[in-house]
Amino acid sequence: MQHTLSNKALLQATLIALVIAATVLVSFILPVEYNIDPTGLGTKLGLTALANTDSTINTNAGDEAKESGLTTPLNVAENTNIDATDIMHIIVPANRGIEYKFAMQKFKKMTYQWQTEGTALFFDLHGEPEGDTSGYYESYAITTADEMKGSFTTPFAGVHGWYWKNTSDQEVTIKLTVSGEYTVIGLKK
């Protein structure tokens, strides 16, 4: 055991620990993890961009994300055009799984259709409630198929979309057509 420090040294050590912790927290950790950036240093160093690509939706991520264009936060979804239609081509690399997501408000409908060039993929169409951190999600459809057509109405506001898993040795391109009230988030990192 080391010698007990003097009162002065102990106080000094505690203060130094506090100052370091507060500095690192405020300048680096909070900007990256929660997009809270009181010093502005996080934005300067490009750290807040990390927060915006995070899969969890931050409650106050709005302005920053709009500027950087990295993600579309949920609060923009209110201005979404009704009955937008989008066609996208999504590549699933060989032996990999990807997630493609949309931000949607509560009780909004999405009509969708997707197909591959013939390779069947395992998929899980599901939604995660906004602001939820417990990892909870609700699945609307799970199976293995090379195409699917359907629609769903969101039971809660949040992030909804597909997980596709490609177990083949070749990359697979999915053609996805969606219409409804949503904002595209796109590929999850």
Binding site: Q2, A13, I20, V24, L30, I36, N58, T59, T133, G135
Partner: protein, 233 residues
């Protein structure tokens, strides 16, 4: 002057390391692949759960920091064995009971308490309690109690997956054994480094700085998790 210069350099390096790399690893829950595995597989999965448990411990910097603090001034293998066993006993109890009894604790709060355990141990290593209270609190009891909280943290993370009832006990025990294996692996590495370092005079010079940093890292964890609690809820 020489030592002062080195001390500052070391603090800076440690800060960069903690601030920039450590928090990139899995702070909350489990990574994507693991998550998908847990979603897609049911029934008894002994070795996968063993692996997940071990990985969680090896990459769980909060658990490792606490262990580092605990063994920092333990020189005898017997002492190390006793303390680590107490920690293991503590977190095994709450890990098993927590999942079985479906105990729901907020992950941010429990992780903040784990951060507190790191601060506690750093302060204790500096002789802070001796100075403040005039007596050292029972170190063995403290390790056991904080072990209980660490286990509750593990239980909370496992429960995020709404594990199927089928094979739950076996999977849990596999996870727990994995945690011990991971802890053993990590501990061996930490011990190697620390025993090597002890041979040099710098260990004594830097023991105060090291434990100050340990406290600081614990404070960062508390701040990080408490902010999460208020922002995400």
């Amino acid at each position: 002057m020489f030592f002062r210069y080195h001390r500052i350099a070391m603090i800076i390096i440690a800060c960069c390391f903690l601030g920039l790399t450590a928090f990139e690893s899995i702070a909350h829950g489990v990574d994507d692949n693991t998550r998908l595995f847990l979603q897609q597989n049911t029934g008894i999965q002994f070795f996968p759960f063993l692996y997940i448990g071990a990985k969680h411990m090896v990459t769980g910097y909060d658990h490792l920091l606490f262990l580092l603090g605990v063994i920092f001034f333990l020189y005898k293998s017997k002492d190390i064995l006793v303390y680590v066993s107490l920690f293991t006993l503590g977190h095994s109890i709450t890990l098993l009971l927590g999942v079985i009894a479906n105990l729901q604790v907020n992950a941010y709060l429990i992780d903040a308490i784990i951060g507190l355990s790191v601060v506690y141990k750093g302060f204790d290593n500096l002789g802070g309690f001796q100075r403040l209270l005039g007596v050292n609190p029972n170190a063995k009891l403290a390790v056991l109690i904080f072990g209980l909280f660490h286990g509750l943290g593990l239980a909370t993370k496992l429960q995020e997956f709404q594990l199927p009832e089928e094979g739950l006990w076996t999977n849990l025990i596999a996870f727990n054994i994995g945690v011990e294996l991971g802890q053993f692996a990590a501990l061996t590495l930490i011990l190697l480094v620390i025993s090597f370092w002890r041979k040099f005079a710098s260990f004594q010079y830097f023991s105060t700085a090291s434990n100050t940093l340990l406290m600081s890292a614990g404070m960062m964890l508390i701040g990080f998790q408490l902010t999460g609690y208020f922002v995400m809820n």
